[in-house]
């Protein structure tokens, strides 16, 4: 078969290995179990390798050729290795570490264990199916071929992100000012292995974002919702057909799923109960990647920083650590764009300036709202997700009282809100909504599914206590213990 398994694995490893090394530098990520650590590692790897090449190419004029790709990939991997060795040596110097205090053994309900195992197996099988599809079929999506993969070929051929074809207004390039993180990642993978432009290995880079998203959802939900609810929420993401097969999903070469991962993972890190500068820096790097992935990534990065804001010295230090990479990425993007004349693109800045926002934000809604409703109702796209999610969130509303849950929901509402504003100012809102609304929904998938897991856990607790409770609440129940376990341990 034409399946180039080693090429595909190599392309994924080109980012996963350096990223895994980078996680060694962040204590909050280093302590995670290997699968979740690898998920964050993959995202950090794409950020470090593709983002590093993006910056080096534009700022220093480093050619995007094999030596540069391997050097940029090797640096974080070696840094991680060195950090691990130093840590081990220090630990040896201190003598044998005291074993971590073991929690008292709790009785694990067999059904919950079985449910989690089934979730892992089903999600793994779905992800494997996506990889299988990516290894045998050439790209067949719309925007992937129209914009992202074409740009990747231009960048690879020119050996720079400032390719002449992008900077010369005569040439026919759609969305020439779109950020190029994922095209650079494609070009880097092809260049690293000296592959033919037609080979399918860049598709595996995109396919790898699906398991990453599921693991990020699991990681974000596990602490507050418990392992079973977190596993179920991750499985709910894998069961949404649009996230897998849709235009923008894991089987496409769009940048929407990567953006969903960067944004979601950064939010999960920023909303952790203890504000640490290291987790802030990791989140900031992921948000920098979001800025360099898609136009709306800049707005989402600012939103995530705002949602992650915490008072106090530790909170401010974490915010600063997260903000610095975002500011640098915004500066890089602005500098890179300055040399590229825009053409074949919607100029949202001009549309806003010409005053379409008002009353378009109200009047256009009547035109595009039915399209939005139709898209969310499509059984083949969402399998009824948008019917199920509100019911679960309402039933588990006690969990949503927690500030963290509210911030997660605000984070999930961010991308659709951006879409709403874009449709309000666009001269053809219906056609734009028809092709983009579901992708915006996907961009907010991670925080929404984490909130859904918290609501599911609340429903589970309510149902478990059903038999014990009488219709008339007892005094202690009316006192209102927080349904969100985290609420007891942290101030949100």
């Amino acid at each position: 078969m034409s399946v180039d398994l080693s090429g595909g694995l190599g392309a994924v490893a080109l980012f996963a290995v350096p990223g895994y090394g980078l996680t060694e530098l962040f204590p909050g990520l280093r302590r995670l179990p290997p699968p979740r650590r690898a998920a964050y590692g993959y995202l950090l790897g794409v950020t470090a390798v593709a983002g590093g090449l993006y910056a080096l190419s534009h700022v220093c004029g480093v050619p995007l050729r094999r030596p540069a790709v391997w050097a940029v990939a090797a640096a974080p991997a070696l840094a991680g290795l060195a950090a691990a060795l130093v840590r081990r040596l220090r630990r040896q110097g201190r003598g044998t570490p005291r074993p971590a205090p073991r929690r008292p053994e709790t009785w694990l309900p067999f059904i919950a264990l079985l449910a989690r195992a089934a979730c892992v197996l089903a999600a793994a099988w779905i992800c494997a199916g996506v990889f299988a599809e990516a290894m045998i079929n050439p790209p067949h999506d719309w925007d992937g071929r129209m914009t992202w993969c074409t740009q990747a070929r231009y960048v690879r051929a020119a050996g720079t992100v400032d390719a002449g074809v992008l900077r010369d207004p005569r040439w026919f390039v759609t969305h020439p000012q779109y950020p190029l993180l994922l095209p650079v990642a494609q070009a880097a993978a092809l260049e690293a292995f000296g592959a033919d432009p037609d080979v399918l290995l860049p598709r595996d880079i995109y396919a790898a974002f699906l398991p990453v998203l599921l693991l990020v959802i699991y990681d974000g939900a596990r602490r507050g919702a418990g392992r079973t609810a977190a596993a179920l929420a991750a499985l709910a993401a894998a069961a949404a057909p649009f996230l897998v097969h849709g235009e923008g999903g894991a089987e496409s070469s769009y940048s929407d799923l990567p953006l969903a991962c960067f944004y979601g993972a950064a939010l999960v890190l920023l909303l952790r109960p203890r504000p640490r500068p290291s987790s802030g820096l990791a989140a900031g790097l992921l948000l920098a990647a979001a800025v360099l992935t898609k136009n709306e990534g800049s707005i989402l990065a600012v939103l995530a920083l705002a949602l992650g804001w915490r008072g106090g010295r530790a909170g401010v230090r974490r915010f600063a650590a997260a903000a610095v990479p975002v500011v640098l990425a915004l500066a890089l993007l602005a500098s890179w764009r300055a040399g590229i004349p825009n053409r074949q693109d919607e100029s949202y800045a001009d549309l806003v300036r010409t005053g379409h926002l008002w009353p378009g934000i109200l009047t256009n809604a009547a035109a595009f709202a039915p399209v939005i409703a139709d898209k969310m109702n499509r059984l083949l796209h969402w399998a009824g997700f948008w019917w199920m999610a509100p019911v679960v969130l309402i039933a588990g509303r006690r969990a949503l009282r927690h500030p963290r849950c509210r911030r997660l929901l605000a984070g999930a509402a961010g991308p659709p809100a951006i879409a709403w504003i874009a449709y309000s100012i666009h001269p053809r809102p219906v056609s734009l909504a028809a092709v983009t609304w579901e992708r915006f929904l996907m961009q907010g998938a991670a925080p929404l599914l984490v909130a859904l897991a918290l609501a599911l856990a609340a429903v589970g607790r309510q149902l478990a206590g059903w038999r014990r409770r009488s219709p008339v609440p007892q005094r202690d129940e009316m006192a209102g213990a927080s349904p969100c376990p985290e609420a007891r341990g942290s101030s949100g």
Partner: protein, 223 residues
């Protein structure tokens, strides 16, 4: 009395909340059952396909994009060097994506977009759009239909011929005082439009996309 009413209200709220809990569990279960059954079936099919796909990369491209289309792309790739450029003309339906897919397949060759074929009836205007000295013209059709490659002089000759035919048709209509609207120049833009030379009859009788060219027409020399 008041305490009894309050207890009843609390009881009602309790049962509503329990009903909501059950609805949440049922809806989540239904969603997972539906979504997972599709997703797992699809994954099985993909694995089955992958494990039986004993094909080369070229065969995979031919399967996905069509044999004729892939062959045409490979021929154009051989004719236009990777660091070269070409003039791109869209003869398929606007928004069908045909031009995008050809541009992707030919990248990193640079494309200078001349426009929709039906617009190109005035040679002087077409020359104004030639802002780069490119020798080749690639005409694209609807998705899946193989693109065609022309030498620029052949293409320009065809544009001139189409321009003359249109002018003559307008003049005839003017002489006869016909009240009917003239045939839309956009006939070539409709799905199924042909390259300028492929039909050999300009806009009067557009041939089906990919139809064999008339002998002697530039379409014969399509590679």
């Amino acid at each position: 009395m008041r305490a009894g009413t309050a207890a009843t209200a609390r009881g009602r709220r309790f049962w509503i909340a329990r009903g909501l809990d059950l609805a949440a569990v049922v809806s989540f279960g239904l969603y997972l059952a539906l979504g997972l059954s599709w997703a797992l079936q699809y994954a099985c099919a993909e694995w089955d396909h992958a494990s039986n796909a004993h094909e080369t990369l070229a065969a995979a491209r031919a399967r996905e994009y069509g044999e004729e289309y892939t062959r045409a792309i490979d021929r154009i790739r051989r004719e236009v060097p990777a660091d070269g450029g070409y003039l791109l003309v869209e003869a398929g339906a606007s928004g069908s994506g045909g031009a995008y897919w050809v541009r992707y397949d030919l990248a990193p060759r640079r494309a200078l977009y001349l426009g929709q074929l039906y617009e190109l009836t005035d040679p002087s205007r077409v020359r104004q759009r030639l802002t780069a000295n490119l020798r080749r013209v690639v005409v694209t059709f609807n998705p899946g239909v193989p693109p065609r490659l022309y030498e620029r002089y052949e293409f320009m000759r065809e544009v001139e011929r189409r321009g003359r035919e249109l002018a003559a048709a307008r003049a005839r209509r003017g002489q006869h005082g016909a009240t009917a609207a003239p045939p839309a120049p956009g006939a070539g833009a409709a799905p199924g439009a042909a390259a300028p030379s492929a039909s050999g009859a300009g806009t009067a009788a557009p041939a089906a996309p990919g139809a064999p060219a008339a002998p002697g027409a530039p379409g014969d020399r399509v590679r």
